[in-house]
């Protein structure tokens, strides 16, 4: 694909993101309650002070002008002050975001590592015992609530067997200087192998909880598209050429079958970023999800607004990434 076409595709994302910001702004503007009232609470501020704060926040301006101010600020990453933390929203979010991204990536890795090989084997050995076990397993995975499965894992591996920590991101005495914000990378950069392993142990249960739930659907999709690919003429032709079974299945069929898998993986990663609030709460994971849950309970609107915008943007970008991957997998697809 040409760089020009890529740039064109990126430009097409702008209207989508604009639409999202309208919705996010409207969400804030239409929410009942006066932000000034919320910020000042029951304090003894008089009407003059209230009016002055309202002017400072630009709330006295017409709604259209407020929107463009919001948009301009959002573009520079300025979402205002977090009511609760009394610090810029973006600073608070950026502090928490790496933990969520790291957890999501590890969960995604686990999901793919489990789902793709299982899906392929289930398709190749269709109706075998393994296929049936995988089918039942994925049905359980799809229907089991994540928080319940997470609690079960905590009870078994942390409470009863004492093998893994109950919550948190890293244990006492293992803290290292955060440079990238990704604890697995930072511990390695600090040369602390023991801390790296400790961080890995902390990550294992939440990542497995998220990853297995995601792998269930991913495996079904991989199995179905593999069955479809295996019935194609090009598979018969590849076999007729005398290629090994591994090459026929692992290359000729799999490369074509991965397209639906990539789509679902991208969508799931997007919803994982936004949807792991519950898992982060269950495992005491200091990520964005937990931050947003706390913000919702404390009516911390600026923070919720910024988080929603970040979630939506990530989602859009992930879908764009999936589109890019299609062109690699199937040269017939053009952006």
């Amino acid at each position: 694909m040409s760089p020009l076409r890529l740039a064109e595709r990126l430009l097409q994302l702008i209207p989508v993101l604009l639409g999202i910001s309208v919705i996010v702004f409207a969400m804030m503007a239409l929410t009942p309650g006066d932000p000034v009232q919320i910020m000042l609470g029951d304090s003894l501020a008089d009407q003059a002070q209230r009016d002055s704060l309202r002017r400072d926040m630009g709330l006295d301006l017409p709604v259209v002008e407020r929107f463009f101010r919001f948009l301009g600020n959002a573009l520079t990453g300025n979402f205002g002050l977090s009511f609760f933390h009394r610090r810029p929203v973006m600073d608070v979010i950026l502090e928490r975001l790496p933990a969520t991204i790291e957890l999501t990536l590890v969960a995604m890795f686990i999901a793919i590592a489990v789902a793709v090989p299982l899906g392929v084997i289930a398709a190749v050995r269709r109706n075998s015992l393994l296929d049936r076990i995988a089918t039942i397993g994925s049905m359980l995975g799809v229907s089991m609530p994540g928080f319940w499965f997470g609690i079960l894992l905590i009870l078994l591996f942390a409470v009863n067997l004492h093998l893994l920590p109950v919550s948190g991101r890293i244990g006492f005495g293992h803290e290292v200087k955060m440079v990238t914000g990704f604890v697995l990378i930072d511990t390695l950069m600090a040369g602390r192998l023991d801390s790296f392993l400790d961080a890995l142990r902390h990550m294992l249960l939440p990542a497995v909880t998220l990853g297995l739930a995601m792998s269930a659907l991913l495996m079904r999709v991989t199995r179905t598209s593999m069955l479809e690919a295996l019935s194609q003429d090009y598979v018969t032709f590849a076999e007729a050429k005398g290629l090994s079974r591994v090459r026929v299945v692992g290359r000729h069929a799999l490369k074509n079958a991965l397209i639906p898998t990539v789509t679902v993986a991208a969508i799931e990663t997007g919803s994982l970023l936004g949807g792991n609030m519950i898992i982060e709460t269950v495992f005491g994971w200091p990520g964005l999800g937990r931050l947003v849950v706390e913000a919702i309970f404390s009516r911390n609107y600026p923070l919720v607004q910024a988080a929603v915008l970040i979630y939506a943007t990530t989602y859009v970008l992930l879908n764009f990434l999936a589109d890019l991957l299609y062109t690699v997998l199937n040269p017939k697809v053009r952006l």
Binding site: Q232, D233, Y234, T236, F237, A238, E239, A240, K241, G242, L243, S244, R247, R251, H252, K255, N256, L329, N330, P331, K332
Partner: protein, 323 residues
Amino acid sequence: MSQLLGIRGLRTTFPTRHGLVRAVDGIDLDVRPGECLGVVGESGSGKSVTFLSVLGLVRPPGKVEAEAITFQGRNLLSLAPTEIRAIRGRDIAVTMQDALTALNPAFTVETQIVETIEAHEPGIAKGEARARAIEMLRLVGIPDAERRLASYPHQFSGGMRQRVMVAIALACRPKLLIADEPTTALDVTIQSQVLDLIDDMRVRLGMSVVLITHDLGIVAERCDRVAVMYAGQVVETGPTAEVVAAPIHPYTRGLLRSMPSLAHLDEPLVPIDGTVPDPTRLSDGCRFLPRCPHAVEVCARPVGLRAVTAERAARCILAEVAR
């Protein structure tokens, strides 16, 4: 009588919800060195399945049984999977009906030719395999072969794509090419080009060709011998010229009469009455019986392939008369 490929008593069945489908039911067939054998029959008569069975490419739950399938004196039925894989593509190659679906859309032509060469000549240098790929593309008449190696199948025209598939099939200089409906997916003007190419390659590489088609006209033009199939059985075999000039089996006669001919444009085409029998409910007797204008009582009993001359045979009581 020398033979390259000998098929004896081949039966291929597929269990379905409606009963057992006997797709191929007791086929005896020989392919001789250097010849072009035409296999004619309508869709579902078992032409393609016969040769997929020979190569062990019938997928489960399909089941293949045979008294013997010999290729160059080796019984393919007794070979291990790796041994039969070594024969596929190297000794017996296949081209399929539609190159658009037979070539993998996700890989370049280079990958698809080179992997075939590498599968049969492990350890071949990358550059050498690539040079062979270019040579094959040139041989089948693809212009600008070196540059086209990097193209994907969908970037070729229909005729060129078919040529690419032939190039892949012939990359390892097989002794036998099974060309399964090589022209059905093509425009008429391109058809004869592809058939000429296959003919030309047969002579140049000294290989045998099995031309599977439903077009008796193509067989009459191109093939030394013909086998006519009906409902999973061979109903008539013999030298093409003799079979076309004096068909014995009523089905062959029907096929010839239903074929348009430029020499007899004024004669009406006569279709064969009736339809092909349900493959789950085949009778033990002659399968053409319900549609046969010459049917008599004995036709309901099992009828074998009867020799007419040393070269000809027909699965019909009329064979006795012809003899």
